[in-house]
């Protein structure tokens, strides 16, 4: 082994379909980045009977796969995974480590960066190489209202977590070849202190609003509980779901299941109507992935109005009422 060639590592996250996709997406980007700094693309894969993933990662651009394959790694485990990655990274000094921004990946990357005494940029939506060879990491802040370009100037590896869906995976290439490095778990790993008692596949019941194509959201600017009910009618006509901001739910104008105002709950409709919402951070974070936003607010400077594709400066309830009237003329409902 040369030991001199620079390397970009991708954490092989495969536990479910969604996690595996982000790994493939990162591999695709790592291949592009590696070309710019003449580096080798490696995947670190931990688990039990993970052979199928080795092949998949090589087919997707990995030139080398480090594999720890052992029954004790059957379940994802932060402490063991971090300890193994820490040692491997210290041995090989990768230039860059990329981790999918899954729940597991975000925690793993945080811990690993701390142990390696290096910087970590969260939830990147863009990665590039600067002329001077540094990794430029673009990360959203303030509920997507701002993007920051971040570098890690003096510490290595440069570490980033990346949101699923940011990069496109490259198609399988079964003719690709790569080096497979099978590693043995060292005997002197510290014993884990967190014990997994039970694990089962279970998804949170998907709420209608999270998969709706059209969402009609209302805030306090609707004026009153009675006027807020107009939004139900508009949503019905549009075949969409009603969403509400936190103050509206707290005022009992809408049920708590309508709440669109948590940083960990995102909606991504094709059309978002936003009535009388100023745009508090919890709300904008939840709606930032909407395709097309129509905001109605008396205040043209409200954050929500700035985020909108169409900003209507008017009373929210008046526009809602007029829309219902016009749509009823055009759609039989």
């Amino acid at each position: 082994m040369t030991g001199k060639r620079r390397s970009i590592w991708v954490f092989g996250d495969y536990r479910n379909f969604f996690q595996n996709r982000v790994t493939l997406q990162l591999l695709s980007r790592a291949v592009d980045l590696a070309a710019k700094i003449n580096a080798e693309v490696c995947v670190v894969l931990l688990g039990y009977e993970v052979e199928e993933w080795v092949g998949e990662y090589i087919a997707h651009g990995a030139q080398r796969v480090y594999v720890y394959d052992h029954p004790s790694l059957k379940d994802y485990n932060q402490e063991i995974y971090v300890a193994l990655l820490e040692r491997l990274a210290q041995e090989h000094s990768p230039e860059i480590i990329l981790v999918g921004a899954t729940s597991f990946g975000r925690e793993l990357a945080s811990r690993l960066a701390k142990r390696l005494k290096t910087g970590l940029t969260a939830d990147c939506v863009g990665l590039d190489i600067h002329d001077d060879g540094q990794l430029i990491q673009t990360s959203p802040a303030f509920g997507g209202n701002l993007y920051a370009r971040i570098v890690t100037p003096e510490h290595r590896p440069q570490m980033a977590t990346v949101r699923p869906g940011v990069f496109q995976e490259i198609p399988h290439n079964y003719n690709a070849s790569g080096e497979i490095v099978i590693l043995k778990i060292p005997d002197d790993l510290p014993r884990p202190r967190v014990h997994l008692i039970h694990s089962e596949i279970k998804s949170r019941p998907a709420q209608k609003i999270e998969s709706a194509k059209v969402v009609v959201c209302g805030g306090r600017g609707m004026g009153s509980k009675n006027k807020f009910k107009n939004l139900n009618e508009l949503a019905r006509i549009l075949g969409g779901e009603v969403g509400a901001t936190r103050p509206v739910v707290y005022s009992d104008w809408a049920d708590s299941e309508c709440l669109v105002g948590q940083t960990d709950k995102h909606i991504k409709p094709q059309l978002l109507f936003s009535f009388g919402i100023s745009g508090a951070i919890q709300h904008t974070a939840a709606i930032e992935n909407s395709d097309f936003i129509i905001a109605v607010n008396k205040n043209p400077n409200a954050t929500m109005m700035k985020m909108a594709d169409v900003a209507i400066v008017a009373d929210a309830n008046q526009i809602c009422t007029a829309l219902i009237k016009e749509l009823k003329k055009r759609i039989r409902c």
Binding site: L271, G279, V313
Partner: protein, 289 residues
């Protein structure tokens, strides 16, 4: 009441809980620089970060069930004292605010480093640290796990349910579509999901009392034994090169006028977009009529 707490505490009967709380800006209140899309952050009005509030609520529920002494830990500018006092109003027993200009701009590495040093200074024999899963301003979700690393204690992230069995904490979480039950022995750290532990409402009277009488200790780096060199060596390993607004690049068509005019204009201009999303042809239906 307070004396009883201290007495119980002295006899080691009560859990010592630490809750890390951050003050974050209310974005709607932030003045924008429309040209480059940056925020004038120093003018921001602050609020307690939502996830931190859920962590505090989890601590308060532990306190109600089995007794606990809750200390909140905050790092930030002097005005962050507000959230420490709000936490007292919700039911925390003591607040600690570390405010030091040298620490401004710390990244998560630096923040978790300093938080660990504060904790070693004010409550080295803690039982459990509770953090919010993430903050609304930077959304990294990194500080909790990095603090656990810094203090070398076991930790579990995104906890939705917890249960004590003597010195063992059983936690339940749903992450990456896996329901996991994880256990560790105290002392340790959890980050609390906003899916559960909806924060309680604070009466105005409680807020007034907390602002008038509450116990908030204000510290700086020097008072916990950190010198400027040590702070700067650990402050931040990442540099923000620039900040830009992705929404500034949106077309942002502004419509004004009477409601009727706006709606008519809107429907004709965006008819295709609307039809596509709702799966109904607006124009065709109009013709049928």
């Amino acid at each position: 009441m307070h004396d009883l707490y201290l007495q119980n505490l002295a006899e080691n009967k009560m859990l010592k809980l630490l809750v890390c709380i951050k003050q974050v800006p209310m974005v709607t209140e932030l003045p924008w620089d429309a040209k480059n899309g940056t925020l004038k952050r120093e003018l921001a009005e602050g609020m307690m970060n939502t996830a931190c509030k859920h962590a505090l609520e989890a601590a308060l529920q532990i306190k109600e069930e089995r007794g606990a002494y809750i200390t909140t830990i905050t790092m930030g500018p002097p005005m962050a004292e507000e959230v420490a006092r709000e936490a007292l109003a919700m039911g925390a027993d003591k607040g600690v605010l570390l405010t030091d200009k040298d620490m401004a701009g710390s990244d998560t590495f630096g923040t978790s480093f300093v938080l660990a040093r504060i904790i070693e200074h004010v409550c080295p024999d803690f039982d459990l640290i509770l953090c919010g899963t993430q903050t609304s301003d930077s959304e990294t979700a990194q500080v909790g796990p990095q603090l656990a690393e810094e203090l070398d204690v076991p930790g579990v992230c995104s906890v939705e349910h917890l249960e004590f069995n003597r010195r063992t904490l059983r936690t339940v979480r749903l992450s990456d579509n896996y329901l996991e039950i994880l256990e560790f022995d105290l002392p340790g750290l959890i980050t609390v999901s906003t899916q559960q532990f909806a924060p309680r409402y604070v009466e105005l009277k409680g807020l007034e009392d907390a602002f008038n009488k509450g116990d908030v200790a204000i510290l700086d780096g020097h008072s916990i034994g950190l010198d400027a060199d040590c702070i700067s060596a650990n402050r931040s390993f990442t540099n923000i090169q620039d900040v830009y607004s992705p929404i500034a690049s949106k077309k942002n068509v502004v419509l004004k006028g009477s409601a009727k005019k706006i709606v008519e204009h809107f429907l004709s201009r965006y008819e295709d977009k609307l039809s596509g999303a709702i799966g109904k042809d607006l124009k065709a239906q109009e013709k049928i009529r």
